[in-house]
Amino acid sequence: MLFHTPQFFLFLVVVLLLFYTAPRAWRRWILLAASYFFYMCWNAKFILLIIVLTAIDFTAGIWLARLAAGRKRKAALIMSLSANLGFLGFFKYYNFMAANVATLLGMPIHAFALNIILPMGISFHTFQSMSYVIDVYRGEQQPITDPVDYALYISFFPQLVAGPIVRARHFFADLYHWRAPDSQEQLRGVLLVVFGLLKKLAIADQFARLADQFFSKPAAYPGWLAAWSGVVAFSIQIFFDFSGYTDMAIGLAQLLGFHFPDNFRRPYLSRGITEFWRRWHISLSTWLRDYLYIPLGGNRHGRWQTYRNLMLTMLLGGLWHGASWNFVIWGGYHGALLSFERALGIKDDRRAWRLVDPLRAALTFALVSISWVFFRAATLRDSITVLGRLFSGPHGHIIWPHWMLWYAVLALLLAAWEERSGWFERLPDAPAWAYAAAIALCLFCLELIGFTDHAVPFVYFQF
C-alpha cells in the first residue's frame, strides 16, 4: 500500500475517522493497529520481525534504566545493538558479503547466496530503535514503560517505511502531550500531503521515465549531453521522490497530531557538499553525526582524524543505503568531498547569496549528480560506463522533451523563491483564497501531469 495509491487514501480516511471519533484511551491502539495493518499489507509474515525487534529494544530500554553504570549496562546495550544490527546485517547484507566471500574464494558469485526478502523499512526502523536504546544508555531518554507506546514509536505508519528517522524524545513528547492539531496545523498537513503527492506523481515519476530510459541502455544514448541529461533526470527524480514522500509523511503525521522534523531544505541550492548534507535527508545525516561521527571523535582530534571520521561515517552511510559496492563508493565519494571542503576551509555557508553563489550551487549540483550515478546504475560496470560518457565523446542530444526543461526551470525558480521568502511555510497563514488557489493548482497539475499509468514505487522504499 503505497502513499500515492487510492487504497492508501481510503485507509487514511478510515484511520482519521476512527482516530478522531474513538475515546482517547483507544487512540494509541488504533494507530498501532493501523500501523501494523499498513505494514502487513506489504508482507504479513514480517510483522513478526518488527514485533521481535520492538520487544528486544523495549526490554533493553527498561533494563538499561535499572542497571547502574558498568559492565552489565554496557553488555545490555551491546546486546540490543547486536540484535538490531544482526537482523539488519542478515536481511540486508548477507548476500552482499556472501558474494564477496565467494569471489575471494574463486567460487561462483551465488555459491553461498540465500533467497532473502529485504523487509520493508528495516534500515529506517532499526536506526530509530537504535537511537532510542543509545539515548537511554546515555541518560538522554527516559525508558518507555508502556509496550504499546514503544511499539507505536517503531511502527508509526507515516514514517515506517522511509522515515524521517524520528528521535524518541520528539515522538514521545508529541504522544504524551498530544493535542489535536489546530487549524493552521491541519492546513499545513493537507498542504504537505497534496504537495508531496505533486512532487512524487507530477515531477519525480515524469523524470523517472527519462532516467529509466537512459540507465536501462546508456549505450543507446551517445554523447555527453545525453549522459548528463539522463543523470540530471535521476537527480531530479530522487529528490522529488524522496522529499515528496517525506512531505506526505510529515503532513500525515501532522494531521494525527504529531510533529516530524524537516528532512529536506532545498538541497540542490547548496553551495557546497557540507551545506548539501545539512539540507539533504537531514534525519539520517544528523543520526550519523550524533551516533557515529561524534562518537568516533568528530573533529576533536586533529585534521587527519577528522578526515578519517568523515570518511568512515559516509562509507557506513553509503552502506546503509544498500548492500553493494556502488553505495560504498557513493559514500566514499561524499566523504572525500566533505574532507576536501574541510581541508580547503569551506564551511557550511549560511550567509545570504552572493554573485558567485549560483556558480557554486551549480558546481555542487553537478558533483552531487555524479554521485547519483553510483546510486542509480545497476552495477559498478554500468556506473563506470555512464561516468565515462559524462566526460567524453561527442555532445549528442538532450534526452528530455523540451517542455520538461521548462518544467525543471520552474521547479528551480519555486525552490529559489521558497529559499528567499519561505512562501510554502507561510501558505497556511495566507488569505483563504491564496491557500485554496495553491491547493487547486496542485490538484490541477496532478490531474494533468501526474503519472497515473501505474504506481511507481518510492526510490527509498528499497532501503
Partner: protein, 377 residues
Amino acid sequence: MQATAQTAKPASTTEGGTSRVAVRLALALVFFFALDALVFRTGWYARLLNPDSTAGFLQTYLWIEQQRPMNYPRQALAVGDSRMGVKARMANALTPETRLRFGTIAVPGTTPRCWYYMLRELDPDADRYAAIVIGLDTYDDRGFENLNDRELDINYLTPLVGFADFVPFVSSYQSWPARIHAAEAILFKGLAYQRDFQDLLARRHTRLEVARINHESAHEWFYNAVWERRSLAGMSVDWNAHKLSLPDWVDAQHRSIAENLLLNDPPAYFDQFARYRRRWLGAILDRYRGSRTKIIFLQLPRGPVVRPNLTTDRTSSIREFAAHGKALLMDEHKFDSLERPELFGDVQHLNEAGGLQFTTMVAEEVSRMVGLAEGNR
C-alpha cells in the same frame, strides 16, 4: 519528559478552526473545478485534441458537420459506425431529385450511446435535420459484444459529457471499473485528457499546426475521401468446412479479421442487447419526439457473404419503435442486393462501387420516406 505520564488532555480544535479548514478546502475544490472547467469544458481544449486520438477523431467529425452550410431547407444526417457507407458528396449530387442535403457523422467504432451524445452536441434544439438516418447491422436484438460496458465509448465521449450526465452516463455501465472510468471522464476532464495534454506539451508546435490544418481543411479530405476501389470478387466460404478463400490482394491482417468475423461463432447477447438499444436508441427517439425530424433506421448490408442461420424470431426493439410510431424503418431487405463480394472492399465495408449504390439507394429512399411522412402529416 515522563515516560509514564499519560496522554495530556488535548486542546481540542475549536469550531472556528475546523470551519476555517473546511472553508479553505471547499474553496480549493471550487477553484480546482473552475480551472478544470475553464480549460476543458468551454470547448477550447477540444479544438486542440490530437485528431488521431479517439476523442479528437470524433471531434473532427462533429466539427465538420457543425461547419457544414445549412442553407438548404431540408437537411439529412447519416449516423452510424464505419459501415454506414453514406457518402455525403455522392448523396448531395442527387439533391435536385431528393430535395435533401446530406451530412454524415458515421464515425468508426461508435455505438448508439455515442450517437445519442453526438446528436445532442450537434443538434441541441432537435430542429436541425429533416431526417436522421441511423444504420444498424441488424433489426434483430442480437449483438456480439456487451456494449453496456464498452469503455471505448468513454474515450470518444469525454468532450461531450458534463456534470448533468453523471448519473445516466455512469449508471449505463455495469462493471465498477467501467463506472469509475466513466465518472472520471465527467468529473476530472484533465485526467481524461492527460495523455493528450502531455503530448501537446511535448509536440506543441506540431500539434498546434495539425489543429490549425485540421480545422481549415478537414472537411475537404472528409468529403473527397478516396474509397477502396478493389473488391472481394472471387471470395468464397465453405461454411461446413470452415474455410474461407479471399482474393490474393487481401493482406494478412484483413484475412485474420475476415476469418474471425465469418468463421468464429462468438456467443450472442440478446436481452441485454435489447435493453441497451431501448435505452440509447430510445433516448435519441425521445429527444426528437414531436419535432420535425424523422428518425429512420436502416439495416446495413451485412457483408459480401451472409452467414447462414443468423436470423432470429426474438423480439426486436427496433421494430417495436416503428410499431409505436416513434421511428421509420427502411425495408430490412432493401440492401440485400448489395451483399455481394464485388461490392465490398473488406468483409465489413462497401467499396467505392458498393458505396455509390448504397448512397444512391439511401438518399432516394430517405427522400421518399420523408416526403411520404410529410404528406401524411
